[in-house]
Symmetry: C2
Subunit: 258 residues, 2 copies
DNA sequence: GTCAATACTCGTGTATGCACGAGTGTGCAG
DNA sequence: CTGCACACTCGTGCATACACGAGTATTGAC
């Protein structure tokens, strides 16, 4: 048999030294981030398996993991589908996040060591010199928040926050697409970091909570706008939304080399 | 081959209608709760597979799930082992829990509907008439807290709290083994529920946080006592702790019918 | 006797095969 | 034309097979 050697002709399996399972997880995660997999869409093992050119086993593991994290949920038909968010869920998300981020900031103010404080300051500096691209801002923003979580020195809080933030890609475009959000966010980040440097837990928590509340408002703006745009696109394209989507070539990433 | 039909002679596969994977998860969870699997102990797929008389596939899924939840962690040798807790981790656990429980109580005070308030009151009533058994108290306590989480009407908070509480079995005996804990806890529970009934979020949060802080203190008492007792037992039994534990029959549940 | 190299054991990662069950389309009877 | 029953499709759950790699024991040389 010639299946001793994987022998993938494609050169696109540039995954790190980790296993196919983790790789599949990353690919699915990216597919959700990029919008290739839309919320509510059904995700089936054979399909993903064919897409990634690996067997169902690692795909299965990746999907179960995403299910455990809440990115995938039980589909009505019995399988799994990309989790659906409604505006209420977004409100719940930010309420939880406000609590956790506030606690993280407070703990960081109490527990951060000198190195961590230095890193926070330098990340903040880097954010001041950022171009106008929402993606760049989003990435640095994520880095800063992650550093705050680390500085809190609380493994459970860290894990809870990471799990919670996994849900962000489902919300759509970043909040930095809201006009003027970057400047305001920078101001808020400065307040949080200043309170951490001053070792003032109460102030750090208050600043962090305020930051998240504002992020929530921006999120609502962006999402409602997205929903409106999508509705317009839909009504413009197909007058009667046919329920049968069971054709041959489905949505999933056409990763075929051809 | 006769493997068309599972044909398990034992009558102990009384699992609910769910699949073997969930069943394996429950069994492992129980094994950890019961102390059959001790923290730090290595857990290997073939072993569990043989124990539960199912193939490695569902065992694997259960273990990955527990890993995602933090109950299992990477073992030095490359496999998985039951997560180890130290006193610092317990402190971190309760700090996170205090934040989440406080938020849950506050949200419950704001969002609980009449039915939920009634259920809370009746659970509290039931707790007043409980016998002295720590197990009974622990179970009702869990029920009350779960009802508060539900009443908060926040799916993300609910999931975060459930994931966090998964870690409790690793901490050992329940805090109701601390003398006098049951009475104090009942008083604290009454305060939380009263604040929720009064629709006072700030008071509910304060009461919940106080409750968790006290639970933390009881936990520290119980755990330090356990550690001391274990140390005594160890030093009494074997003067020189041999490192080679690689014998034939290992710890895992001797579920053999023989 | 000690060190090093080799062979072996065993656990994990992945692939594949098979059975069951739900959803669906089709054909027949009314 | 409508309703029901049967067969089919397909996705999931589980089991088994195989390869790789890390750790370990054994054996040989110095």
């Amino acid at each position: 048999m010639s299946l001793d050697i994987p022998e993938r002709g494609d050169g696109d399996d540039e995954r790190g030294g980790r296993g196919r399972s983790d790789w599949a997880y990353d690919m699915l995660h990216e597919a959700i981030r990029e919008g290739t997999l839309e919320p509510g869409q059904r995700v089936m093992e054979p399909e993903v398996s064919a897409w990634l050119r690996i067997s169902r086993t690692p795909v299965r593991e990746a999907m179960r993991r995403m299910q455990a994290e809440g990115l995938l949920e039980h589909a009505p038909g019995g399988g799994l589908s990309v989790a659906l968010y409604d505006l209420r869920a977004i409100g719940e998300f930010y309420a939880t996040r406000e609590s956790l981020e506030g606690t993280a900031a407070a703990l960081a103010a109490r527990n951060a060591d000198d190195t961590e404080r230095r890193i926070l300051a330098s990340t903040l500096d880097a954010m001041r010199k950022l171009p106008d691209a929402p993606r760049a801002h989003a990435r640095e923003n994520q880095a800063l928040h992650e550093q705050i979580y680390q500085a809190a020195h609380n493994r459970f809080l860290l894990k809870s926050l990471r799990t919670l933030l996994n849900f962000v890609p489902l919300l759509g475009r970043t909040t930095y697409h809201a006009p003027g959000r970057a400047e305001v966010a920078l101001r808020e980040h400065e307040a949080i970091v200043a309170a951490i440097q001053a070792r003032d837990p109460a102030e750090a928590e208050a600043a962090a909570r305020l930051h998240i509340r504002h992020a929530y408002e921006s999120r609502v703006h962006v999402v409602t706008e997205d929903i409106r745009a999508a509705a317009e696109r839909r009504s413009a394209r197909r007058p009667s939304p046919g329920p049968g989507e069971r054709g041959s070539a489905r949505r999933p990433p056409a990763k075929d080399g051809s």
